[in-house]
């Protein structure tokens, strides 16, 4: 195969530039323009929110007629917005820690262990990612009512952990599978016990996967609306719930300020995840 492919390849490389030189690649130009428009469709709405959040007008328009921080002032001055934000951060942070600890332990078992029913367990763990949130929401609501967990902090945290654990397991399992088990065997043959092997060999190697999983887990909870809508209650209202209210009645321009801060936050998270991944690959 390789012997026949090599001359073919050389011949192709030799003919290719000659063909390109005398014709404008129209199909390529059209494809590029189309792709640029699709990228614009994806990014422009997100990007346009940021300048609009600094608008001095009472009504949102683009480009803004003048600059002001009125919507940011409004956000920080109003207790319903700030308390919802603080509640979301508290919930998401707790979920992140819980889901990461549970998810790393489960990934070790699923990748390294072999026991009956492993495939089914795997399936159960990833299924919260595809089962529609509305189903999870009313199912959990149905049992929370009887367990008196509706409108409690831990009720929401546990429900969000169910949704967040799969992200940790998927990311950590992927790094665990790509990791040479002989490194662990070497550590053990040098006298390390199971904990030491995990702490000094496995953990540092899989830390990029854990970091990515933890970030996903945080976002999964922080952005989650539907489950919270059913079980959080008015007193434990999260930021997505407050935003949803603000969008359902009349479109509250304060949301422009909130949105801009959230966009900045996700860009920072994305950048740090990318940075961590690059550093782990060493390029």
């Amino acid at each position: 195969m390789a012997e026949t492919a090599a001359p073919l390849q050389r011949a192709a490389v030799a003919t290719q530039p000659a063909r390109r030189r005398w014709s404008i690649p129209w199909s390529r130009v059209i494809l590029g323009l189309f792709s640029a428009l699709v990228l614009l469709y994806l990014v422009a709405p997100v990007a346009i929110v940021i300048p609009m959040s600094f608008s001095a007008a009472k009504y949102l328009s683009f480009p803004p007629p003048g600059l002001s921080l009125q919507w940011y002032q409004n956000f920080f001055a109003r207790a319903d917005w700030t308390s919802a934000t603080i509640q979301s951060i508290r919930v998401a942070f707790t979920v992140m820690i819980l889901a990461t600890v549970l998810g790393v332990a489960a990934s070790l078992a699923l990748v390294r262990g072999s026991f009956p029913g492993k495939d089914i367990v795997n399936l159960i763990i990833v299924s919260p990612l595809v089962v529609p949130a509305i189903i999870v929401a009313i199912a959990i609501y149905g049992i929370y009512v009887r367990l008196y967990l509706v409108q409690t902090f831990w009720g929401l945290v546990l429900a969000h952990t169910v949704l967040a654990v799969p992200y940790v397991v998927v990311n950590v399992s992927a790094t665990l599978r790509g990791f040479d088990i002989r490194l662990e065997q070497a550590a053990q043959s040098l006298g390390a016990n199971a904990w030491q092997t995990f702490r000094y060999v496995t953990l540092p190697m899989i830390s990029p996967g854990i970091f990515a999983g933890a970030v996903f887990a945080f976002i999964a909870s922080f952005d989650e609306l539907i489950v919270a809508l059913f079980i959080a209650g008015a007193r434990g209202r999260t930021l997505p719930m407050r935003m949803f209210e603000g969008l359902r009645m009349e479109i509250d321009p304060t949301i422009a300020a909130v949105s801009s801060m959230l966009i900045t936050f996700s860009v920072l998270v994305l950048a740090s995840a990318e940075f961590a991944r690059r550093r782990s690959r060493g390029d």
Partner: protein, 300 residues
């Protein structure tokens, strides 16, 4: 005792101790898994099973009354139909917009492609509520698009681009497009370019080479993306609730109103069961075709 017997005895003892060690190791793994497994059994599997039981069992006997209602009442049938139509339309839109973009990115140098991919990932990582808000600001009656069009004199009165199907399709496609582009791009990147060169060399035009070599090879990524977009679209709530028309209700909205305003839990449970079965069937097709491990967190 002969030496042979001694050796056999030692081998037997060693194999039992190693078997015992192996058993302890596996038990250790199982214990690591146990907390997560318990959490999911108690707060995911059991609630969903109970939900389905509620939909067919009224406390005393078995009943299919709620399912009969879904099929017999026009309003509910129409909601199911709308849900399918919207999911299909969104999947097609994602395909039409996503395939060329993924193809274009896959033909660029890896470095350039990764930079442009950031433009796909930023919206992907941004909250759905934020994105829906952005579209509401752009599309509403007094919104940015209508003002521009009015100022340019292209229209005399504001267009209705929201609280109808257009708004839902624009908003949902925007949210779901990355789920098409990411797997499609990952598969297209992996296609060996020499195969295309070979096709040119055998006399294929660029279009023929694309159609007969590249397209079939890219199908797994496209299928993965399409199934994922379709599954996610079926259960969509936020965008149709905020940007949809009153008569254009999707199933997740119907479930929500049945619980929050009608307080009809068994009927909502029946609707949820229908949605769940459809989702799981597509999920099973996906698993059979492509394997679940490809679904999330891989590729890009």
């Amino acid at each position: 005792m002969t030496t042979g017997e001694v050796l056999a005895g030692r081998a037997y003892r060693e194999s039992t101790t190693s078997r015992r060690l192996e058993f302890r190791r596996q038990l250790g793994y199982f214990l690591l898994l146990l907390p997560t497994l318990l959490l999911l059994l108690v707060l995911f599997v059991y609630p969903i099973v109970r939900l389905i039981v509620t939909s067919v069992y009224d406390g005393n006997h078995f009943t299919l009354e709620h399912y009969r209602r879904i099929v017999e009442v026009d309003l509910y049938l129409r909601v199911l139909q709308t849900t399918f139509t919207i999911a299909l339309q969104v999947t097609l839109l994602c395909l039409i917009l996503g395939y060329p973009l993924a193809y274009f990115l896959a033909t660029l140098r890896a470095r350039t492609a990764r930079l442009l991919m950031i433009l796909v990932l930023i919206p992907f990582w941004t909250s759905i509520l934020v994105r829906t808000y952005a579209w509401m600001v752009l599309l509403q009656r007094q919104g940015v698009f209508n003002r521009w069009l009015l100022e340019l004199g292209l229209i005399d009165e504001p267009l209705r681009m929201m609280y109808n199907r257009i708004g839902v399709l624009v908003g949902m496609t925007h949210v779901l497009l990355p789920f098409m582009v990411l797997p499609a791009y990952a598969v297209m990147r992996g296609i060996d370019r020499n195969l295309l060169r070979a096709a040119y060399n055998l006399g294929a035009s660029p279009f023929q080479a694309f159609l007969m070599v590249f397209l079939p090879l890219s199908l797994p990524g496209v299928a993965a993306g399409s199934l994922l977009v379709f599954i996610l679209a079926l259960g969509f709530f936020i965008t149709p609730a905020l940007m949809g028309g009153r008569t254009d209700m999707m199933i997740a909205q119907l479930i929500e109103t049945q619980i929050r305003t009608q307080l009809n839990f068994p009927f909502a449970a029946a609707l949820a069961a229908v949605l769940l079965v459809i989702t799981l069937v597509i999920f099973a097709i996906y698993n059979r075709l492509l394997g679940l491990d490809k679904m999330f967190g891989g590729g890009y």
